[in-house]
Symmetry: C2
């Protein structure tokens, strides 16, 4: 197996990525990692970290970088950027999976254009596994910002894809899929959400109905489907709230000499709390729906997060996530066709046809 | 001053509300509270709590209750419900402010229909003050779920109204107003958000541009404008994440006999952390934009939250929030008119005209 990674997509240069790759290669003995980026800068980082190119570590040169402020349209001017070269590795069969880091919009754009979408998928979505009250059941929230103009048919795609991801990669059986809304009743929310509700009822997923914001963390739901704007806002709000609370607790512990002693006693246990909150432990976020295994990581990823993303990429290839998505979406399209035929017509205006025809 | 409160809007019956009213009347010596609800049940709760009717505590009978599962349309069949009678108190001049609890959609519907909107306001919005890293600057998030079909012109209304609320009630000077989006650049998000950005730039508020989910808690922003679906999801997700984290910390503290001792030492300091997180301390959530002072509280509110909502209602009347909103919106409408005139036409298709003409 070969996994390609964007060596330039870190705010602190190639070093954290090289460190993460090194860490991954030490624990894995079958995978080849292909680093894509500026030859001189990556080589320099490799020398510093004491690793060299080998049968299991290759380097592909790319002279340009998509910076954080670059827009998707800038991909046209940056055809030799590391993200474009990364996608080419996958597209041209030289890699089985890719790990993009840094500019998320550029990664989504390059992957969508370069790899194309799986048959029947209208839009790709970024899925992130969030920690919940149940340590054994992380909750996959999709979409985390790949798409901010989401239609009901996209939400149904998300439900199917994330359900397969939760099952195959996170190992949850019969993942419970919820539609993020302002209340549980099916009449809640706006017209798009009501349409998505109807479509999800007919989709090949374990749909449990509308769920509320709290259900992301409650452990009552395994997949939460929402538009990219909401997903992005909730993810960032949660990260900041968690770190704000951690800061307050730290202040409380450092308030007096005796609270400092108490804090010292609690150190080991508090580390466990911190670890539960650490999204990095769950690995990079898959971009589901593109025709290829594509993981997206943060531009501030440190070495363990990079290694974790590589692990998730390997796992996604092994369990054939995309093959399953293809099958499930095909099954849904067929059931819609059969239903339309049974109802004595080829009426394309039934709601369930949208994911197929629009 | 007279404040009316829905005595039936609590999941646990009138008792917590009667307790909260009692608490409020003990610290306040000028306000009359009008409780609206079933005469027998409220009287029973008053007897249990040892208070009676007086010059400062009145009771208005209402034979019906809008239950949590009732929809706005059900208001037509429940004309003698406590929420309808509550709104009538305000509408007919027998109260200066109202505190609704329980079914939020019913409260928003009854207040909008009964009190009407302030001139120039297209939709009301629920504002909630959230705790931030800066203990002196809570962040007002608007809308928390009054409206799930939000247009750019509604978002501008929200920015103006919440800005005045932050200034007059929370005492923040020059509140920094941010538009909730997936990134800071003005090109981010969907077409509605880009239009709202342009409108907010021209509105009489201290607009600082797009903000991200994390800025609700970062202390970098005083007013966050968003649609009701996102606001509702973020509020509920934050509440559950905070309580989930608190649960983990509690588990950590009860893990062994020595962590229990440490927990005992930290007790006082941890209470402070808990208090910072307690939204109830900030009082009920104002429904801004209706022609009357209207506070909305949770159906699970306990006595301190009820007392706090009454305090916020009193404060909102004193500082004349609605008068200021009226003035600011009028000023904005005039500047749009002047601009249109200066540009030599009555072209109603300029973006800034939307809040005025559509």
């Amino acid at each position: 197996m070969r996994i390609a990674i964007d060596a330039m997509g870190n705010d602190n240069g190639p070093t954290p990525i090289v460190q993460g790759v090194k860490q991954f290669l030490e624990e894995d003995h079958d995978t080849t990692v292909v680093m894509v980026g500026d030859r001189d800068r990556v080589t320099q980082a490799m020398i510093e970290e004491g690793i060299g190119l080998s049968k299991r570590l290759e380097l592909v040169h790319a002279s340009q970088v998509m910076e954080m402020e670059d827009k998707v349209a800038d991909l046209r001017e940056k055809r030799d950027s590391s993200i474009m070269r990364l996608v080419a590795e996958l597209k041209e069969g030289r890699a089985d999976a890719m790990v993009a880091l840094g500019n998320t919009a550029a990664a989504v754009g390059a992957a969508t254009i370069g790899l194309k979408l799986l048959p029947g998928v209208r839009r790709p979505g970024i899925a992130i596994a969030m920690p919940t009250r149940n340590p054994k059941r992380p909750c996959v929230v999709i979409d985390m910002g790949a798409n901010t103009a989401t239609k009901p048919s996209h939400l149904v795609n998300y439900g199917i894809m994330a359900s397969i991801y939760s099952n195959r990669v996170l190992g949850l059986s019969q993942p419970r899929v919820g539609l993020l809304n302002v209340g549980e009743e099916r009449s809640k929310g706006n017209v798009e959400l009501r349409e998505a509700y109807e479509l999800l009822e007919q989709a090949p997923v374990n749909f449990i109905g509308n769920v509320e914001g709290g259900d992301i963390f409650s452990g009552e739901c395994d997949v939460v489907v929402c538009d990219g704007l909401i997903g992005n806002v909730v993810l960032k709000a949660s990260e900041t709230l968690a770190s704000t609370m951690s800061g307050w607790i730290k202040d409380a512990m450092l308030a007096t000499w005796y609270t400092k002693i108490a804090a010292f006693i609690l150190q080991g246990q508090m580390q466990k709390v911190k670890k539960r909150l650490d999204y990095a432990a769950y690995g990079g976020a898959p971009l589901l729906g593109v025709n290829g295994v594509c993981l997206i990581g943060h531009g501030r990823s440190k070495a363990p997060a990079v290694a974790s993303a590589l692990r998730t990429a390997r796992e996604s290839v092994t369990v054939q996530v995309n093959k399953r998505i293809r099958e499930h979406i095909e099954r849904m399209r067929n059931s819609v066709r059969l239903k339309a035929a049974a109802e004595g017509g080829d009426d394309a205006s039934t709601p369930t046809d949208r994911s197929d025809t629009t």
